[in-house]
């Protein structure tokens, strides 16, 4: 079974590993990126990137990183989905895509009525500030109370609401004064409320205002937040990077120590600017490869063995299933979860492949040093 190709030609696996290590070694600034997020692959990718002095990004990192940026600027209340499902007697969705970002998570939270705490046994109120024009039916058949607000006006509406909740004066804005006063009273009456939003869909100032509202509400009652990142894999990779390097993605190891910079190590920017001269990309196949990387020398690590129309410099196919437990971040659980073992594969796992390249890179370095 062929698992490696060099310039489109089938190659011995070991030869392709050596070639990949050689390419990385010769590279001025390699970029390691793609659609990954399980713990083993992320660990291996970080190890290899650190060894190679490269940059590390993740295909959907932006979905997680905007939220993390705000979190570290302002702090936050954050709720576990499981607790919100059982305890929240009021949900306030914010923004037009609050349900779309993670429909499974929204279903999980909305399906059952609260059965813990002061709101136990009662109905759950669901309000939606700045929702879509046609509000969807909720799982479990609940009714949504719409508070209309244009997407561009969300921040102003939230700031009015903060003033209303805190009993401060506020001027004219996207919502009428009596709407703000009524809504402020409603929110303060929640026993345990949760503000649900697509973190990947709101800008950072919107998010700051929204977190400020929750902090204000907690002066009197209990509110928390449920940020939907839109990509648990990216969030999981960011978590692994944080305990490994001290920071979430995006990372660079070019100066011998991990550095974190969302702009500097943005893979698309590195490719467009010519700062990186080699891409190591993990994905399912050719269709997964972003346009930004198509003009650069490429080492592709894919789960699909289908030939590419435009073959990369080196291509590996790796296992798409695991005989062991694969660990991924799970948004319903709010932490890492071990997936049940699947079928064994003749192909190496992504982590085994990346470790193999790292070993070859290490051997080459030692040979040169000797």
């Amino acid at each position: 079974m062929t698992t490696a190709w060099i310039d489109g030609e089938a190659a011995e696996h070991a030869a392709a590993i050596a070639a990949a290590a050689g390419r990385i070694r010769a590279s001025r600034h390699p970029l390691f990126t793609g659609d990954y997020g399980d713990v083993a692959t992320t660990r291996a990718l970080l190890r290899l990137a650190a060894q190679a002095g490269g940059a590390v990004d993740q295909q959907n990192a932006a979905a997680a990183l905007g939220w993390l940026s705000v979190l570290r600027e302002t702090g936050s209340f954050v709720g576990a989905p499981a607790e919100i499902r059982r305890r929240a007697d009021m949900l306030l969705f914010v923004g037009p895509n609050a349900l779309q970002a993670a429909p499974e998570l929204a279903d999980f939270v909305l399906t059952e009525q609260p059965d813990l705490g002061r709101g136990k046994g009662g109905p759950r109120r669901v309000l939606w500030l700045g929702g879509p024009a046609a509000l969807p039916d909720l799982p479990g058949g609940g009714r949504v109370e719409a508070v209309a607000c244009a997407p561009g006006q969300l921040r102003a509406a939230l700031s009015m609401l903060r003033a209303g909740v805190s009993g401060q004066r506020f001027g004219k804005g996207p919502l009428a004064t009596d709407v703000i006063h009524a809504l402020a009273v409603t929110l303060r009456e929640a026993r345990f409320g949760a503000l649900v939003f697509a973190a990947c869909d709101l800008d950072e100032l919107d998010l700051e205002m929204l977190l400020g509202l929750v902090a204000d509400l907690n002066a009197e009652t209990r509110w928390t937040t449920l940020p939907l990142s839109g990509d648990p894999a990216a969030f999981g990779a960011a978590q692994v990077a944080t305990w490994t390097a001290g920071w979430p993605l995006r990372l660079g190891f070019g100066r011998g120590v991990p550095e974190h910079d969302l702009w500097r190590f943005d893979g698309a920017r590195l490719a467009a600017s010519g700062e990186c001269d080699l891409v190591v990309h993990l994905g399912s196949g050719e269709a997964d490869l972003p346009e930004a990387f198509r003009e650069l020398p490429l080492i592709a690590v894919t789960s699909d063995a289908t030939a590419w129309r435009s073959e990369p410099a080196i291509r590996f196919t790796v296992a798409s299933t695991s005989a062991g437990h694969l660990i991924r971040f799970n948004e319903l659980w709010g932490s890492f979860v071990a997936a049940a073992p699947g079928t064994a594969s003749d192909r190496p796992s992504p982590a085994e492949l990346l470790d193999g390249i790292a070993e070859a890179l290490d051997a080459a370095s030692q040979e040169e040093a000797a």
């Binding site: 660990r43 600027e73 499981a82 928390t224 305990w243 390097a245 001290g246 437990h325 890492f336 982590a351």
Partner: protein, 543 residues
């Protein structure tokens, strides 16, 4: 390989050794001096102090909350990287990698993460697995979880509760059980803002005291070696000594461990409404042999508080420095991350520092008091060498006291305390006693059969320097540190109890999880093959 550590001053209180001796090591264990064979390696320990590897029973090194602290405070890590030698937070052991290296360099071989949430036990173990060199372990947190509180509300049998505790310990691969402000986090989610030992958790109708007693009974009944590890109510507030005193009195002859007692050493006296209750708590501990405590010493400088006491973290959020925080409404405990700066110019910080030392020096039995800074809550763990110097040398204490506000110095009895810890007492507190407390008979001493975790120090007047930098460290008989620098990077194990779990409880938990969440109970589990290490666990017997 046969190794001889030759001619060192061996301090092993378990064996009654405090003088020159040779130590022999083979296949990862301390062995009797052999009759015939010559050692493959001799490590010259002449003039050096030889002890078992140090054990830290309470240090927040690996959890979702710890990672949230890293996410919240990127500036700390950046400052450290720019000036690693000069930045206070360079001491914090910030990544999993640095945690292992820094502990090893100080002669530590086992560290316990004291707050592993059952639902994120896998996360904790993933981080633990990435900490090199040392062995690790974790205590699983119960006491704010719906299952336990519901079992208690329903008046279920002690056996059912033991089965649940055993199931949790087994799933989470824990070395013991901790409760954190028992019932307080659950109450806070119902908007309760103050919660004491006899307050009831709304809806469940059980008190904090009942939760502690229930868990204490279960831990004792299951023969878990480490006593229930208790983080009391009302941490950090003036008057918190009453909570600790009530908890100590609730032990009723059964073993109970109180965590970071310093944070409860506060009265409400004086014109600032904040006074020392160190003497009172020390007397209580001295009088109750079933009680063990660790201190949670405050040292000066910026750090971050990481706690699963959501209620108290919420209350302390406004004092954060820098002014940002994360409060997590988890199922069960949740928690909070609040950065803090203990300033030596502050009356409050200075008195906290003094109260910790009062407790260390007034609690008489070194087998029952444990050094900790509650890393990173009181200070980073790398402050331990300075702490040992403070305990071993009253002149060092006097120099520190000179720098503190007069009002704080007047409010403490520290100036009257002449006690200086001996090396043997340090060895008890940092080696022998932790091993005994955790139920690890082959650690904490250097008798034949012991795990060959051996720390060798270069003695000197400067005790902080001595303990900051081990001359040698052997982990499982292998040299991993020389002259304070790691020479071999390897991975230790996570120690976990051999917990026998009841199949019926497993089925009951599966039903509970499906009924309440529509999720599988096996998501609590930590599979061995998930951690990316050949031998991730070392198994520890129940008593």
């Amino acid at each position: 390989m046969l190794t001889c550590l030759k001619g060192g001053h061996v301090v092993d209180p378990v064996a009654g050794l405090d003088g020159p001796a040779d130590l022999w090591v083979e296949d990862g264990r301390v062995v009797e001096a052999p009759d015939g064979p010559r050692p493959d390696r001799i490590i010259d320990c002449a003039g050096l102090v030889v002890m078992a590897g140090a054990i830290d029973i309470h240090s927040h090194i690996a959890s979702g909350h710890v990672n949230t602290a890293r996410l919240l405070l990127p500036e700390f890590h950046k400052a450290f990287q720019a000036r690693p030698g000069a930045t206070k937070l360079s001491q914090i052991g910030w990544t999993a990698e640095e945690t292992g290296l820094r502990y090893a360099e100080m002669g530590f071989t086992l560290v316990v993460e004291p707050a592993m949430a059952p639902s994120s036990a896998l996360h904790s173990h993933l981080e633990l697995a990435d900490i090199p060199i040392i062995d690790k372990a974790a205590l699983v947190v119960l006491g704010n979880d719906d299952v336990l509180l519901s079992l208690m509300r329903a008046g279920e049998s002690p056996q059912a509760i033991e089965d649940y505790v055993a199931w949790t310990v087994g799933s989470a691969r824990a070395l013991g059980v901790k409760t954190i402000n028992a019932g307080g986090s659950a109450a806070f989610k119902d908007n309760v803002r103050a919660f004491s030992i006899d307050d009831e958790v709304p809806d469940y109708g059980v008190t904090s005291r009942a939760i502690v007693k229930t868990l204490q009974s279960a831990v004792t009944g299951l023969k878990i070696p480490h006593p229930l590890h208790v983080h009391c109510n009302n941490l950090g507030i003036a008057g918190s000594a009453d909570s600790a005193a009530a908890t100590i009195q609730s032990a009723e002859g059964l073993p109970l461990h109180l965590a970071h007692l310093q944070f409860y050493g506060y009265g409400a006296g004086g014109k600032r409404g904040f006074s020392s209750e160190g003497q009172r708590l020390a007397e209580l501990v001295n009088a109750r042999p079933e009680i063990t405590v660790d201190i949670g010493q405050v040292m000066f400088g910026p750090t971050v508080t990481i706690s699963s006491d959501e209620l108290r973290q919420f209350a302390g959020r406004t004092a954060g420095s820098p002014g940002k925080y994360v409060i997590m409404d988890g199922e069960a405990n949740g928690g909070g991350v609040v950065p803090i700066d203990y300033k030596e110019t502050s009356y409050y910080s200075a008195l906290q520092w003094a109260i910790g030392l009062e407790l260390f020096l007034l609690i008489k039995d070194p087998w029952r008091v444990f050094f900790t800074t509650d890393h990173p809550n009181g200070a980073p763990f790398t402050a331990y060498p300075e702490l040992f110097a403070l305990l071993m040398d009253r002149d060092v204490r006097a120099r520190w006291l000179e720098m503190l506000p007069d009002a704080a110095v007047k409010a403490t009895c520290l100036t009257e305390l002449d006690r200086e810890y001996t090396l043997a007492e340090i060895a008890i507190m940092t080696r022998a006693a932790p091993a005994r407390l955790l139920g690890l008979p082959d650690r904490g001493h250097l008798s034949p059969g012991a795990v060959a975790d051996i720390a060798v120090y270069r003695p000197g007047e400067d005790k902080a320097q001595m303990f900051a930098s081990a001359a040698w460290l052997l982990k499982d008989g292998e040299v991993v540190v020389e002259n304070g620098a790691v020479t071999r990077r390897r991975f230790g194990k996570a120690l976990a109890l051999k917990a026998e779990t009841d199949a019926a409880m497993g089925r009951r938990m599966e039903r509970y999880m499906q009924d309440r969440y529509g999720l599988p109970a096996h998501w609590f589990a930590v599979p061995q093959d998930a951690l990316g290490r050949e031998t991730p666990f070392g198994w520890v017997d129940m008593r």
